[in-house]
C-alpha cells in the first residue's frame, strides 16, 4: 500500500467513496487507449510479428527447418551444377531453393530460425496484420515471405555498456597466427 492510500484511509474517507472518486478522476482525464485500426501501433524493431525471407541469401542449408521446435518450416531444394568458369577448372555444385514456406498457424514465434540462420536470410518484422479466415492461408510461401522484407526495420542501437561487436573486439586481440608473433604485434601497433 502506498503512503497516499494509507493517508486517505487515515483521513476516514470510505473506500466506496474513494472508488467513486478514482473513476470520476479518470473520467475527467483523456483516455489512454489507442484507436488501433485508425492509428497504427508503433512497435519496437525487435517485435516478433512475422518472419521475412531474403531468398537470395538462403543456401537451403536446412538449419532453420531443423532447429524449429515445431517443424513449421518447409524447404525444398535441388542441386545445380555450375560449369567451371576457368578452363580446366572443376564444375561446382550449388543449392537452388525451390520452396521455402513457413506455416504461421504452427509457428510459436520463438525466433530460433532467425537466430540460427548463418547467412542472414531470415528477419523479424513487427508486421502483424495477416490474420486469415482460412487457416491454410497462414502457410506463407516464398513470395509472401519475401514481401515482408520491405517491412523489416533496422536493428536498434545497443546499450552503451554492451560489449563491442565481435569485429571490433577482434581488432584488439593478438592475431591468431603463432608463426610470426613479432610481425603480428607490429601490425597491431599500426592498427
Amino acid at each position: 500500500m502506498t503512503e497516499a492510500a494509507k493517508g486517505s484511509r487515515a483521513a476516514g474517507i470510505p473506500g466506496l467513496v474513494r472508488g467513486l472518486a478514482a473513476t470520476a478522476r479518470t473520467l475527467a482525464r483523456p483516455t489512454h487507449t489507442s484507436e488501433y485500426p485508425d492509428a497504427p501501433p508503433s512497435l519496437p524493431p525487435r517485435s516478433r510479428g512475422v518472419i521475412a525471407l531474403l531468398a537470395e541469401n538462403c543456401t537451403s542449408c536446412m538449419l532453420c527447418a531443423r532447429e524449429c521446435p515445431d517443424w513449421c518450416i518447409y524447404i525444398d531444394s535441388h542441386k545445380e551444377t555450375v560449369p567451371a568458369t576457368t578452363p580446366g577448372g572443376r564444375d561446382r555444385q550449388r543449392n537452388v531453393l525451390d520452396r521455402f514456406a513457413i506455416d504461421f498457424s504452427l509457428c510459436m514465434y520463438c525466433g530460433i530460425c532467425v537466430e540460427v540462420c548463418p547467412f542472414d536470410a531470415l528477419f523479424w518484422s513487427p508486421e502483424f496484420e495477416y490474420a486469415e479466415l482460412d487457416i491454410r492461408e497462414l502457410l506463407h510461401e516464398r513470395d509472401r515471405l519475401g514481401q515482408w522484407m520491405a517491412t523489416v526495420p533496422p536493428p536498434p542501437a545497443l546499450d552503451e555498456r554492451s560489449a563491442d561487436p565481435a569485429e571490433v573486439s577482434a581488432l584488439g586481440k593478438p592475431a591468431r597466427a603463432p608463426r610470426a608473433p613479432r610481425q603480428a604485434a607490429a601490425e597491431e601497433g599500426q592498427a
Binding site: L20, A22, T23, T26, T31, T33
Partner: protein
C-alpha cells in the same frame, strides 16, 4: 380530441419514451463507463461517437437465432421476457414528467408503480425456472431472495413520502415537494436508491446475474430478441427508478424557469440519478446475497421505519 385518439396518442407517446429513454441510458452507460475506465467506448456505429451502437445491437439481436433449450419448459421460457418487460411499460405510463404530461394519471399512481414493478421480477423467476439450467435456477433463487430484501424498504420509503405529501398520487407528491424535503427525506431517499438498485439487479447488487459466478443467472439460456427484451427491461427499469426518484425526492419538474419546461427538469434529474446508478456499477464490486439481506434487514428496514416515524411526527406536529 376524442377519447379514442387521446388513448392512442398517449399509448404511442409512452411506448416511444419506453423505447428511446432506455437506449439513451444505455448509450450513456457505454460512454460514461468507458471514459471512467480510460476508454472511448463505441466509436463507429452511426458515425459520431458511436451514437447508434445500441440500435446496431438491437438489429444484431433481432437477427440471432431464437434458441429454446430442449429441456426447457417452452411456454414459460418464451413468455418470461414479456413478463419481465411489460410491467415497466405499465409503470412508466404512470410517472408524470410535469403536472400535465403523464401517460395515465392514476389517482394512486405511487401504488400502481410499485405494484407494477414488483411483477417484473416474476419474469426473472420464470426464466430461471423454465431454462432447465442449474445456473439459471440458482440465479432465479437469488433473485427471489433479493426480492424479499428490497421490496419492504422500497415500499416503506415511498410510504414516507406519500405521508409527507398527504397523497398517493405522484403528481401531487411532486407538487407538495419543497427543497426542505432534500434534508427531511434524506434517509428515505437513501433507502429508496439502494432498494431500487437492488430491484434492478444492478451492481453492487447484481448477484442474480453475477457473470463470474452464475454465467448470466436466469438469462443464461436466452438468445436473440428474448435476451434483448431482458436487457431492455433492465434499462427501462433504470429509467423508471431514476424518474421515480426524481419525482419523489427531487421535486420532479420544480426548478428555475420551470414554466413550460418542467418536464425537462424531471428528465434531467432522472438522468443524473441514472448516471449515479451507472457510476456505482463502474466503481464497486458485488455484494453477496446474504450480505444484501443483512444490509436490508439490519440497515434499510430500520432506517425506512425511522424515516416513516420522523415523517409522521413532523406531519402531525405541523398539521
Amino acid at each position: 380530441m376524442s377519447p379514442a385518439v387521446e388513448v392512442l396518442v398517449r399509448t404511442v407517446a409512452v411506448l416511444a419514451a419506453f423505447l428511446v429513454l432506455p437506449l439513451l441510458v444505455g448509450q450513456t452507460e457505454h460512454k460514461v463507463m468507458a471514459h471512467m475506465q480510460g476508454r472511448l467506448g463505441p466509436m463507429y456505429a452511426g458515425g459520431f461517437h458511436g451514437w447508434a451502437q445500441l440500435v446496431a445491437d438491437g438489429v444484431k439481436f433481432a437477427q440471432k437465432e431464437d434458441v429454446t433449450p430442449a429441456a426447457a419448459d417452452r411456454p414459460v421460457f418464451r413468455l418470461a421476457p414479456a413478463v419481465g418487460l411489460v410491467p415497466y411499460l405499465v409503470a412508466l405510463a404512470a410517472v408524470p414528467l410535469s403536472p400535465g404530461l403523464v401517460g395515465a394519471d392514476a389517482p394512486a399512481s405511487a401504488v400502481l408503480v410499485l405494484a407494477a414493478t414488483a411483477v417484473g421480477i416474476l419474469g426473472t423467476l420464470m426464466a430461471g425456472w423454465a431454462s432447465a439450467n442449474k445456473y439459471s435456477l440458482l440465479g432465479a433463487m437469488r433473485a427471489a431472495a433479493q426480492l424479499l430484501s428490497y421490496e419492504l424498504p422500497l415500499v416503506l420509503a415511498v410510504a414516507s413520502v406519500c405521508l409527507a405529501a398527504g397523497s398517493l398520487s405522484l403528481t401531487a407528491i411532486a407538487g407538495a415537494w419543497s427543497p426542505w424535503w432534500l434534508l427531511w427525506q434524506l434517509p428515505g431517499a437513501f433507502v429508496f436508491l439502494v432498494a431500487a438498485v437492488a430491484e434492478l439487479q444492478r451492481p453492487p447488487f447484481d448477484m442474480p446475474v453475477a457473470d463470474s459466478e452464475l454465467v448470466f443467472g436466469a438469462y443464461t439460456e436466452y438468445t436473440g430478441l428474448r435476451f434483448a427484451f431482458f436487457l431492455l427491461a433492465e434499462y427501462a427499469g433504470i429509467v423508471l427508478m431514476s424518474l421515480l426518484f426524481a419525482v419523489l425526492y427531487l421535486g420532479g419538474w420544480k426548478g428555475p424557469l420551470s414554466g413550460d419546461l418542467g418536464w425537462l427538469w424531471t428528465l434531467l434529474k432522472g438522468f443524473v440519478v441514472s448516471v449515479l446508478v451507472i457510476w456505482m456499477r463502474v466503481a464497486w464490486p458485488r455484494l453477496r446475497e446474504d450480505q444484501l439481506q443483512r444490509l436490508a434487514w439490519l440497515g434499510l428496514v430500520p432506517l425506512a421505519l425511522l424515516q416513516l416515524a420522523l415523517t409522521g411526527v413532523w406531519v402531525v406536529a405541523t398539521a
